[in-house]
Amino acid sequence: MSDAKVLPPIPEENRYEPREKRAKARTVEARPEGPWKTGAKKFMRNPFAVAGLVLLLIFIGIALLAHWLAPYPPNKLDLMFPNLPAGSSGHLLGTDELGRDVFSRLLYSSRISLTVGFSVAFVSVIVGTLIGAISGYFGGWVDTIAMRIVDVMYSVPSLFLNILILAIFGAKASYMIWVLAFTSWMGVARLVRGNYLQLREMQYVEAAKAIGVSDWRIIFVHLLRNSSAPIIVTATLMVGGAILSESALSYLSLGIQPPSTSWGLMLSNAQASMLTDPMQALYPGLCILIVVLAVNFVGDGIRDALDPRKTTIPQRRLDQWRKRFSKSGI
């Protein structure tokens, strides 16, 4: 009797509990975090991504409120005071060769640049996803034709194609959005196609087919959800590219036409009058640089946040590990 073992206490989770209590416990237990929520948390922990997001939001705010923020209308001529330097009374960044207030023009320009950037990304992501999804899912001759088209579009340098089309059809802001979208959907199409080629072999697709889900529903609901992360990342990065292309085309006077104004157009004016007023070129370019940097930071941040293989380890901790590792002499 004396050597009777004392049983170890039953672990918490195996202990019998009345059913009501267990049910209660289950409702209290929080739902596990979804990938989007984890992603958002990771994104907010990345300082570059957050800084980019804040900057981008500021510029969007400026674009929306330009009418109220700008001290002058963007095309108000003041031929008495052309080429004022920055800091002149009433003109924060001076005036251009026609006496227009540079600061106001910068604010108004953000409208065009952001509109073009976001609409181009929107249109080309929709077109690219559609084409990529259909050709990746169905394969066969549909795929062959679609991919040859992509090859062809890739083989003509997009700047040249943009210029050619705008020269033929005439330079207009609305045309430019379509033209830029027309020459930038291929990246998304290839990406989505590659994704769908892999995903269509998944068992859940087989299961969906077995219970009679239509092909289109599989393409646009089941598979689209599972490849949305890379699509979002590409879309974000595309905004920056579109803003750059817009500024280039406007600089070549094939994009935005006066009296509208954009940063690219301001740069082209600035180069024309750079002997008299060298500082004019600085501001529009800086604006482009900051916006595109912000967009790229956000895009990279989203990519890191949604990539489950990538855990964000702070640089400092990595350095500490490395130091300890090298000290240990292994």
Binding site: R148, S155, P157, L164, L244, S247, A248, L252, M274, L318
Partner: protein, 323 residues
């Protein structure tokens, strides 16, 4: 291998054919049709009819296409309609000028970028690595023509150290030293773009190799780090770099339209922009086709080079482009 080469070349020819259709269709899709686009504005209806007949615009569309593409294949790029100069006479010299500029920028950035990328791969996240990623962020986000304008303003206008634009001074045509001076600014602008990409490529391709098992084996054998990096790793890391260089070849011909415009460099990109403003469509069509030919050849070369250098590449069906 031979089968792969043949199939890949046929593919390229097909792509080129489709591009020529695309370019041709673009002119025909223009509002008012090709007569509107190709004829000088302000002609009387009779004169327009005669000129349309001379240009062959009253024939059926497929016939027009065939005669155009036939001319292209024989090196006849058509005539400008303002002065009726053969397009080839304006086009070919500019190709040479562009290549001078681009090859200089390309070589410079390669010489800097590949060693830098290798160095960064051995010291990940070090100061030099951070600097290069900072530069590449800037390079990808900055409008290159703006960078050019800023450089012009500082080094040419404010300081007068370097010439503002053009290829030669008016009185020093063909002088090599003068050409070098004129090259400095545009080459700086262009190489920043190249540098941003190439440092990244060479770093990541080096890192990929350095993490492989055979490198660990080499280290375990007791080889010096120098031998591991340069003998064992570098050879394999160069394969993807070579491919990317092949893919970038066409940029040497057409990649500098904006920089050429900023620095008034008499190259093909500037010609294209000028002709777009002047609405000289025959020149535009020719340049688009010429550049596309370079792109397609560059892609083909990259694929072939890759297949030759890397024995692991499979030439099976569907393996046409490197995935």
């Amino acid at each position: 291998m031979t089968e792969y080469l043949i199939r890949r070349s046929l593919q390229s020819v097909l792509v080129l054919f489709l591009i020529s259709i695309l370019t041709f269709a673009m002119i025909h899709a223009a509002p008012g049709g090709p007569t509107q686009v190709l004829l000088a504005p302000g002609l009387s209806p009779e004169a327009a009819k005669i000129q349309a007949h001379n240009l062959g615009l009253d024939r059926s569309v497929p016939v027009q296409f065939l005669s155009w593409i036939g001319g292209m294949l024989q090196g006849d790029l058509g005539h400008t309609f303002k002065n009726n100069i053969p397009v080839g006479d304006i086009l070919w010299p500019t190709v040479g000028h562009t290549m001078v500029l681009m090859i200089a920028a390309w070589l410079l950035s390669l010489i800097i970028a590949i060693p830098w990328g290798i160095y960064n791969s051995t010291r990940e996240y070090g100061l030099s690595d951070q600097t290069s990623s900072f530069i590449s962020y800037l390079g990808f986000a900055m409008p290159t023509f703006w960078f050019g304008i800023i450089l012009q303003q500082y080094f040419a206008l404010k300081r007068d150290w370097l010439p503002l634009s053009d290829m030669y001074d008016m009185d020093k045509q063909g002088n090599f030293g003068n050409l070098l001076l004129h090259l400095v600014l545009p080459v700086t602008v262009l190489s920043l773009g190249f540098l941003a990409a190439y440092v990244k490529y060479s770093r990541s391709s080096m890192l990929e190799v350095l993490n492989q098992d055979y490198i660990r084996t080499a280290r375990a054998k007791g080889l010096t780090e120098r031998k591991v990096v340069f003998r064992h790793a570098l050879r394999n890391a160069l394969i993807p770099i070579i491919t990317i260089l092949g893919l970038d070849l066409p940029i040497l011909v057409g990649g500098a339209a904006l920089t050429e415009r900023v620095f008034n460099w008499p190259g093909m990109g500037r010609l294209f922009v000028d002709m777009a403003v002047a609405r000289e469509y025959s020149v535009l069509m020719s340049i688009t086709l010429v550049v596309s030919v370079f792109v397609v050849i560059g892609n083909l070369l990259a694929d072939i080079l890759y297949a030759v250098v890397d024995p692991r590449v499979q030439y099976g069906r569907g393996g046409g482009t490197a995935a």
